[in-house]
């Protein structure tokens, strides 16, 4: 069944069609047409829920490059289905929302083409079973994210943010690619399923840890984990629907997905456990800490997303311990963390998506996102206020909302992780729940900032440009649906848990039964987790009210000592270094370029010739030299030498032509009519070209070079000639390989042609010929562009 593969390709196909249909429909908003695609796909994936909840998987494979083991294999299991539903579900809501959000002056076709490109790429990431295919889609998500961040490319900040996100995520992508290659070297397969099956025996392999860390680098950069988180706040320059979709609900979860997907492969080792848990906890804390001091609502949400991603990441780290303990009580205990991670993954997409849309509405209706200028919007935007309360309180982990359930599970998991028997025990384990609790207090504070600073207090109508009113109903539908989900998931969490989370968990922790809870309860009685939540609300409220008194704490960090400063420094210094290197050899002087080329040739070819002991000259097999050949050689030598001493360019060109024609006579003598013909015509055309260029060349004069440089050039020129001569003679003297000419002798039977040369060119080695034609074409376009560019420049700026 190839429907699964088609579902990945459908967004790409639609994106390709957008430029074609956009001319036909005039004023009609293309978004309505695009909306059809994610809704359709969501329906398709939703129809697969019964299949997956009955613990079955869907596999669909097309051979792509079978000789390299690269197959386009789509694999649908619980984890992929959760991600696919998020991608298409949130995708539908975001497309609907964006129809009202974008202004008529924006280029809708570009926006939706990029968005669909992203959707297809993201579906490809979560559905691919083949590592190479996954990598291609992974990079495609980076590229479409780049395009969407830079959607308003006339803004400098947009371009900066887009470049930053691309550099960091593609850097991680490359690392991940290297990790994949190492995996392939270890296992000999590119299929994730097959890798997981054989990886158990390979934990001692020398490449095991390098591969693990490289793949984690890819996951951490993509999911904005500390210290690679710096790209996410700058990515907020994208239109808000994009931020809601890519940079909170889906793309940044690709790293989470990757870690979850590779848990059966690498999980159970202490390196995997500690790296992910520690990085996740630092990100959780640092993101929340930075979020509090933001004054831009979107920047605040960006840091909060970083923090929440850290939370999910740390849960995946803690849960991986289950694979160490196997099918025991301890294994089931720690496995709960992964269940919590998957649950929070879904919950985060709902509440953060809603919050981003709320901020988009505020930006759209009020004209600013600056907390210092906002306030008192509750009475003006009551509906939006409701969504903001639901989203924020869910993020803070308050009851009656889905965030409460997963937050409680997070506390349970962190308390469990604090005391691990065996391999993972350490005296520092108590830090895990402490950091988790502290970060949650900070989370509570910034969630309150979103609600109270924006919607309560006094509305200062002078500080904002517009008089705020509720947006059109279409803009409210999407956050409304997400808000209903936030509340609905609190009351019916087991609907999600039984059908999606449990099947996913069983695949991630194969052979461990009882890791997922029988059912998700809101009320566990008075236990440590509940006390932690109560403590968060009490202390968080106190800290929120007294925020002005202690915000000086943010000044502790010196201004220049940020990762952003480090990134900017690295960027500018690498640019400077690159231009310094380039300028040092690109002088614009042709004779210097010739010098480099010839020097490289002499050193590489001549050096190889000497080092590999290939120099051997034997005249045994050669035919006797006839008088015609001797005469031609003498003519050529005389011509070549006299070129050096000519005083006019015209005679130099003509004598060069004499050399070329003499070579073609050689071909005639050696019974190679095809070569002779080609050489003749080429010589004619190039001489004509030379004559055409004649008028534009500078005056013919001798370069006033110092004696030493002249001697250097002479030595290099002679060395170049010598290397060519010696190579030619050596090639003729050694028979390294069996001759292949007998194969080509059959050209009449095999290719139907009596001309062997052309049978080789057009049939046996047709791919070479095709690519040579392509190269020729590219060169022709290059010449044309260079000359046109120069003409335009002269017309525009009167030369430089």
């Amino acid at each position: 069944m190839h429907l699964l593969i088609f579902s990945i390709l459908l967004p790409f196909l639609t994106a390709a069609l957008i430029p074609l249909i956009r001319r036909r429909i005039g004023d009609f908003n293309i978004g309505w047409l695009v909306l059809f695609i994610p809704v359709l796909l969501f329906g398709f994936f939703a129809s697969q829920i019964p299949l997956v909840s009955s613990r079955e998987t869907l596999l669909s494979s097309i051979e792509w490059i079978p000789s390299l083991g690269i197959n386009f294999t789509a694999y649908l299991d619980g984890l992929s289905l959760i991600m696919a539903l998020l991608i298409t579900g949130v995708g539908s809501l975001v497309v609907l929302y964006s129809i009202y959000y974008l202004s008529p002056t924006d280029s809708f076709p570009h926006f939706y083409a990029y968005l669909l490109l992203f959707m297809g790429a993201m579906l490809g990431v979560v559905l691919s079973d083949n590592l190479m295919v996954l990598y291609v889609f992974w990079e495609l998500t980076s590229i479409s994210s780049f395009l969407l961040i830079a959607f308003w490319y006339h803004r400098k900040n947009s371009r900066y943010g887009a470049q930053k996100s691309l550099l960091i995520t593609v850097f991680g992508g490359f690392a991940m690619f290297a990790g994949f290659l190492m995996l392939y070297a270890m296992t000999g397969t590119l299929s994730i399923q097959e890798t997981a099956a054989v990886m158990g025996q390979l934990t001692e392999h020398a490449l095991f840890y390098p591969a693990m860390f490289l793949i984690l680098l890819g996951a951490f950069t993509k999911s904005a984990q500390f210290p690679f988180h710096i790209w996410l706040p700058d990515a907020m320059e994208a239109p808000t629907p994009v931020s809601a979709y890519l940079h909170s609900a889906t793309m940044v979860k690709a790293g989470i997905y990757l870690v979850a997907r590779f848990t059966p492969i690498f999980g159970g080792t202490s390196a995997w456990f500690w790296t992910i848990t520690i990085v996740g906890l630092i990100t959780l804390f640092w993101g929340a800490f930075c979020a509090i001091r933001q004054t831009d609502l979107k920047a605040l949400l960006a840091y909060s997303t970083i923090s929440q991603l850290g939370l999910i990441m740390s849960l995946l780290g803690m849960g991986s311990a289950a694979l160490h303990y196997g099918n025991t009580e301890a294994g089931a205990l720690y496995g709960l963390a992964i269940f919590a991670a998957l649950f929070h993954l879904v919950n985060h997409s709902t509440f953060k998506g809603a919050l981003f849309m709320v901020v988009g509405i505020i930006d759209h209706q009020v004209g600013t996102r600056d907390i210092r200028r906002l306030g008192g919007l509750m009475t003006l935007l009551p509906v939006t206020f409701t969504f903001a309360v639901i989203g924020s309180f869910s993020m803070a982990g308050l009851p009656l909302l889905n965030g409460f359930l997963s937050k409680e599970m997070f506390f349970t998991a962190s308390l469990n992780a604090a005391s691990m028997p065996g391999l993972f025990s350490t005296s520092w384990g108590w830090l895990i729940p402490v950091i988790a609790w502290l970060a949650s207090v900070l989370t509570f504070i910034y969630a309150m900032i979103i609600v109270f600073r924006t919607f309560l207090g006094n509305h200062d109508s002078k500080a904002v440009e517009k008089r705020p009113v509720e947006p059109p109903i279409g803009m409210l539908i999407s956050p409304a649906i997400l808000s209903i989900l936030i509340v609905g998931l609190f009351f019916a969490p087991n609907l999600l848990g039984d059908h999606l989370l449990k099947p996913a968990l069983e695949q991630l922790l194969p052979g461990i039964s009882g890791a997922s809870p029988d059912s998700i309860y809101a009320w566990h009685g008075v236990n440590a987790e509940l006390l932690m939540t109560i403590g968060i609300v009490l202390i968080g409220s106190v800290l929120f009210i007294t925020f002005d008194r202690w915000k000086g704490i943010f000044k502790i960090q010196p201004a220049g000592w940020t990762f952003n400063a480090l990134y900017n420094y690295a960027l500018t210094s690498s640019e400077n270094a690159a231009s310094f290197v380039t300028r040092s050899y690109m002088t614009g002087r042709l004779h210097q370029y010739f010098f480099y080329i010839l020097l490289f040739f002499v050193v590489s070819t001549g050096g190889t010739l000497l080092l590999s002991d290939a120099l051997s000259i034997s005249f045994v097999q050669d035919a006797p030299i006839s008088i015609y050949e001797l005469m031609l050689v003498i003519v050529m030598i005389i011509t070549a030498i006299s070129i050096l001493f000519t005083r006019s360019r015209l005679s130099a060109i003509l004598m060069n032509g004499v050399l070329g024609y003499s070579i073609s006579i050689f071909f005639v003598l050696f019974r190679a009519p095809d070569l002779a013909l080609t050489q003749l015509v080429i010589e004619t055309v190039t001489t004509a070209l030379f004559l055409l260029c004649f008028n534009y060349l500078p005056e013919w004069k001798r370069e006033p070079l110092p004696k030493r440089k002249k001697a250097r050039n002479a030595v290099l020129a002679i060395a170049g000639g010598l290397v060519i001569t010696l190579t030619g003679l050596s090639v003729n003297s050694i028979d390294l390989f069996e001759t292949i000419s007998s194969y080509f002798q059959n050209s009449y039977e095999l290719a139907g042609g009596q001309n062997i040369v052309n049978s080789i060119l057009g049939d046996f080695r047709a791919l070479d010929t095709m690519l040579e034609g392509l190269v020729l074409f590219i060169a022709g376009i290059g010449v044309y562009t260079l000359i046109r560019l120069k003409l335009k420049k002269e017309a525009g700026t009167d030369g430089d």
Binding site: P673, D674, L677, T678, V681, I682, T684, V685, A688, L689, L692, C693, Y696, A751, G752, G753, Q754, N755, V757, N758, L761, G762, D763, A766, L767, T769, M770, G773, L774, L776, F777, A779, G780, I781, V783, Y784, I787, R788, K790, L791
Partner: protein
Amino acid sequence: MGINDVILKTVAKAVVLIILTFGIYLFLSGHNSPGGGFVGGLVLASAFVLMFLSYDTETVKDAIPIDFKKLSAFGVLLAVLSGLGPLLFGQNFLAQSFDYFNLPIFGKTEIATVLIFEAGIALTVVGVVVNIILSISEDE
């Protein structure tokens, strides 16, 4: 060019025809005797070059309204697409085939798919060479 040379122009008129015919002959005969797409294309291109040399570019452009950039792109496309054809028949990319047919006037004739591929190469060569020469000669 703008060289006013009556003898050159008169001779060119006749010679261009001969060169063009020769180029087409080379292109067609390449299967069994010297010639082929690349040389054929080059010879055709040299005919155009002769025209541009003996007349000025504007006159020739009016007489032959071909965009040589597009011609070269078309040639490359033809060469690449001709390779896709065999895939429909379960063959490898760029696999060529041939057969013999009895045609009314020519008698027993060989028809080979390599002709399409070679035509693509020839058009690329013509387009690129003429395009380069035109670009340079217009750069004033």
